[in-house]
Symmetry: D2
Subunit: 290 residues, 4 copies
Amino acid sequence: MDIGLVGLGKMGGNMRTRMRNGGVTVVGYDRNPDVSDVASLEELVENLPSPKVVWVMVPAGDITRSTVEQLIELLGEGDVIVDGGNSRWTDDEKHAALAADKGIGYVDCGVSGGVWGLDNGYALMAGGTAEDIAKVKPAFDALRPEGDSGFVHAGRVGAGHFSKMVHNGIEYAMMQAYAEGFELLEKVDMVDNVTEVFDSWRQGTVVRSWLLDLLVKALEEDPGLSKVRGYAEDSGEGRWTVEAAIDNAVPMHTIAASLFARFTSRQEESPAMQAVAAMRQQFGGHAVKA
Amino acid sequence: MDIGLVGLGKMGGNMRTRMRNGGVTVVGYDRNPDVSDVASLEELVENLPSPKVVWVMVPAGDITRSTVEQLIELLGEGDVIVDGGNSRWTDDEKHAALAADKGIGYVDCGVSGGVWGLDNGYALMAGGTAEDIAKVKPAFDALRPEGDSGFVHAGRVGAGHFSKMVHNGIEYAMMQAYAEGFELLEKVDMVDNVTEVFDSWRQGTVVRSWLLDLLVKALEEDPGLSKVRGYAEDSGEGRWTVEAAIDNAVPMHTIAASLFARFTSRQEESPAMQAVAAMRQQFGGHAVKA
Amino acid sequence: MDIGLVGLGKMGGNMRTRMRNGGVTVVGYDRNPDVSDVASLEELVENLPSPKVVWVMVPAGDITRSTVEQLIELLGEGDVIVDGGNSRWTDDEKHAALAADKGIGYVDCGVSGGVWGLDNGYALMAGGTAEDIAKVKPAFDALRPEGDSGFVHAGRVGAGHFSKMVHNGIEYAMMQAYAEGFELLEKVDMVDNVTEVFDSWRQGTVVRSWLLDLLVKALEEDPGLSKVRGYAEDSGEGRWTVEAAIDNAVPMHTIAASLFARFTSRQEESPAMQAVAAMRQQFGGHAVKA
Amino acid sequence: MDIGLVGLGKMGGNMRTRMRNGGVTVVGYDRNPDVSDVASLEELVENLPSPKVVWVMVPAGDITRSTVEQLIELLGEGDVIVDGGNSRWTDDEKHAALAADKGIGYVDCGVSGGVWGLDNGYALMAGGTAEDIAKVKPAFDALRPEGDSGFVHAGRVGAGHFSKMVHNGIEYAMMQAYAEGFELLEKVDMVDNVTEVFDSWRQGTVVRSWLLDLLVKALEEDPGLSKVRGYAEDSGEGRWTVEAAIDNAVPMHTIAASLFARFTSRQEESPAMQAVAAMRQQFGGHAVKA
């Protein structure tokens, strides 16, 4: 098949390569002419046979929105736009409605894989109609990992990004689980070699996972992790997962706690704990650090 | 009544004053001769009429244990030892058993009040037999606040410290509740004067409390709390409360989270968040702070 | 002063009484003719001298929105609408912008007090311009409790409801704190009379509060709380508080956990714990309850 | 090598088989004569060449303690006792001290693998001196999975069970992470097929793991998990992990929350939420479920 790909950054560039390796004809466009195959979105669209499929791989929010709006101008009945970025599922519903006014199909697709995706394949969670999904299928097949897993048509438009969002929420709490265990093992003097303990868990245990493999790799490169600061950004999906949980009255103790731990990790000073210290000083004459 | 009081520090000294103001004859002993009424524990015991009641107000752990052991040597059948310190309820059971071997009664008493107790009275939570409690009653009456509340005979030996421990656990989560609200109000630019908001809550609201009064006092002295660091010790009772919850399969999300927030407040660096950052770097090529 | 009051339910009806007792001339409108002073919103507006002040006390969401829209039709330059309901602060900003197009002022006001407000006064947290607040001041003074606290002009439009929202978030965690302590005390056989322990805390302790007074009242009426099910609704403000925390990267462990505990309390079955049980069965052959 | 194995239940029986398959001569003893190789502990010890190695695989607590005490009677200088059960690391220190008085070595070994261990091997985390570990090495080699991982000498006596305990704590939070994500996906109507979403995550994603494989297996056998109740026991290690975290001032939000979620799952009624409901009723006249 032929596909247009908008956005050729770290993720998009690798995905172009993997799709080409998988036999897909990719026309890539990026604002950076050094990596772009064509000079404009117009040129990208002109170079595609109908029905035209254009995969958008740009930052979520305003940039995705304006790209989708431009594509709606350029495309027509029966064409399909795929949003493969990290958009919130609520954006998908809005974009799909805009596209539908011109008879353009819309597919949202959560993509997992990071720097490992080029070689191992990208896990894909897609939302949309069966008809629209079918038009993108060869590209999905080129991108996804070998084997039975790694791709799902999760439901209607939005379901792809929703599933990917939940995946990321789970990821937050899994990472926090290993992290809390790491801190406890590091803290006690009884355990001589924490790296070896984690490494031993990679086979035969209940906690073996790809994340564990990565943590062992990190520990082997930097035992004790002295070269990295305990500072963690959050990318949006964790927040949205907790918000969706609240909207749906789903108790979400561990994922929310993991998100809050990231917030705390970025604070120079905690106003909340200043308030706790101030109260302690008032009632007990407890000394405070000034 | 006559009572012996061992330990005349910040708490014990004020309690001696309040008991004397309440008509109790107090013989105080402290290792510091400047504040002590007598030269030794022996002299203290000699100065008391039978049945002798001795109130121990020294740091929990080894010092309380050795003091209790010395008193068991010096006292006899029908006398009563009161542990008014911050002992764990499990210590009470051990000490009471030792005392019982010589026919000495044992009462444990959790004391709340801090620097405010001298003027306002100390809230008292006592454990022991009705007979032993009765022997200490005049001292309890002198120490407790005026009014119907402020004293309870909570149950058998240990029940006093257990109740006080739970009180402190609740206190942790209440403080954290105000603290989280404070941080959110401080963070948004919509609210002009956070101190005034907290002050307004002191009447007519659901969250009015003595802790709120203290927080407002702290905010009025230091708006924005810029003079206090977000660093909070924990005194033991919070830990024991969570441990007791675990022993009894009681879910305790907010009290445990408050305790963990204090642990975090004291860390220069979080090993757990170093592990999270290291994993993020491995799978996503996310930049880390080094 | 004269004021129009829209909504004469449990809250609004009592507020009308308290304002009248405080010397405010109130024209009340309600869809229920049995309690309404006038037959329509139009008649209410006609009965007010300029600048006209109308206090809206109806359910948040669609009903508040349509009431505000109708009032904007009926009012004019220099008049003021007060939203005293439980609206989200984001709604205030939208409503104020609509009102401003016609030169109508807007004040949002969080009201605390419940069934106790008629006698004790309602705590009020208001947002808006100083000029608009001044026009409503006599009504605020009639409603608020006696004393220095109980009213705050918290900031611009939205700040009143935002402050009230945070108040409610704090309330959730304070209630959960007492609740966790209650469960632990109930669970152990060491403590004979949990009601008496809570009652004793009402004086001289760090945890004394109005909520504690209420809990003791409930325990005295129904020791062991056997007549009430462990089922707790949430009213919206708790959810919004956690969402605002997420938007502002504020760690909020205890308030979020309290919200989640309420979600759990309303579940007949926990899908999450079904998943945990199913995994345990798979890896360990642990028996599950079917 | 030759080894004695005490306890031939589900775990012990399979471990005997796997050791024999690996060339180890195993003399097994169990109170159940149907599975036992010998009639008594004495006979077991007599059948072993020196230095004698005896692996104890019985329930933690009193049964392990009495078995170890009997073995100390029967064994002598240079022999080694291995505790492969789920003992708390603090027990190991006591047992090792008792054994050391007679010159008997002591090794503690956390064993992971459950019903899968017979075929795939058991992950082993061992504590003890290098000399004692060396005497047990051939048995470890027979039990562990093929490959580089699956065995660690974690440190001195106790370090094996400590590491296994932390492993289990991490396991709790990982399971809870998947479980919370499952509940959210089940709750929304946007996602058509939750089983397929989880299945798709098995390749190319950040959350792929053995636990995920198990959850997918469970979901395929029982989509929606309607045949399993949301009721989860906890086996001790989760509790001990949180207690160790508290002892070491390690914040452990997600593991503690996972443990509390299990406590909640086993409650018919939540006393804490009864208290919340009772307070809501008092202050707001909120209806309660009776």
